[in-house]
Symmetry: C2
């Protein structure tokens, strides 16, 4: 069995059910803003695991970029992502430039910023079928991300590890 | 102010204090195992924020790799990372090939696998100064990662967003 086959098995979804589960029509946009290309790698992995995942945008913040250029890149990402119900921005950490600059759009654009993103949050967002208002979605996905950080050996029955 | 300067400011550490805070001598090894190059990007961002961070290893799992090749890459990563007190493996998600293959070393190597990794966990590990046994470190960093997923607007006083 190749890794690819194992990964597909582990998503616990057949090709056909994946197609119907991917919420192509989630009305809230998702934008990933991180240092360097971390966000782009996150989206690559998301598409490996869920090929039908929505085409979300990643903004890569390079330390050499002037702040106004970062702001412009996030503004363009928001414009590309917003379908009218606002944008959930996922960032790598609270207090970093990607988060701070994303937060600066809070007054002029309908956004919520969730910091400390991980892969389970992205996969969950890509398979959500029920719509929630933006603030509820942010709170939900924060809690989901938290629940999905685990010490693996604690989740496996003794003897199966 | 450039992004780089902002990022440095946001880490709230001067050049000199960063040098002394980075725990180069953490006896437990850290290994990052993810799909694609997600782990390598995580380590790049870590080094941007904390240039003195330890030189940890990332294993990139490609869907085309046969399972035995993945296992060999993780085994090599463990060998490079272990300084005698075991290795904390961080992976992108529970149930994926990187986690499953990492967990398969649980019986033959002193490892703990923490899934759903995020950037705050890496930064915290790189600045830890107190030593803990491996199982306690895994539980500690899991809780730390969970606490550092946040809805940013909830952390900023009203009017400051």
């Amino acid at each position: 069995m190749t890794v690819d086959q194992t990964a597909r098995k582990n998503t616990d979804q057949s090709q056909s059910s994946r197609s119907s589960n991917a919420a192509h029509d989630l009305k809230i946009g998702v934008l990933v803003v991180t240092h360097y290309r971390l966000g782009e790698e996150f989206l690559q992995v998301l598409r490996l695991i869920l090929p039908e995942a929505p085409e979300w945008t990643a903004v890569s913040v390079d330390p050499k970029m002037p702040v106004e250029e970062v702001r412009g890149a996030i503004a363009a990402g928001l414009k590309a992502s917003d379908k009218g119900d606002g944008v959930l921005i996922l960032t790598d950490m609270f207090g970093g430039t990607p988060s701070n600059m994303s937060l600066s759009f809070h007054d002029e654009h309908q956004v919520e910023v969730v910091t400390g993103m991980n892969l389970p949050m992205l996969i969950k967002l890509a398979t959500l079928t029920d719509e929630k208002p933006l603030d509820e979605l942010a709170t939900f996905i924060k809690a989901y991300g938290q629940r999905n950080i685990s010490v693996a050996s604690e989740l496996i029955p003794e003897g199966d590890v």
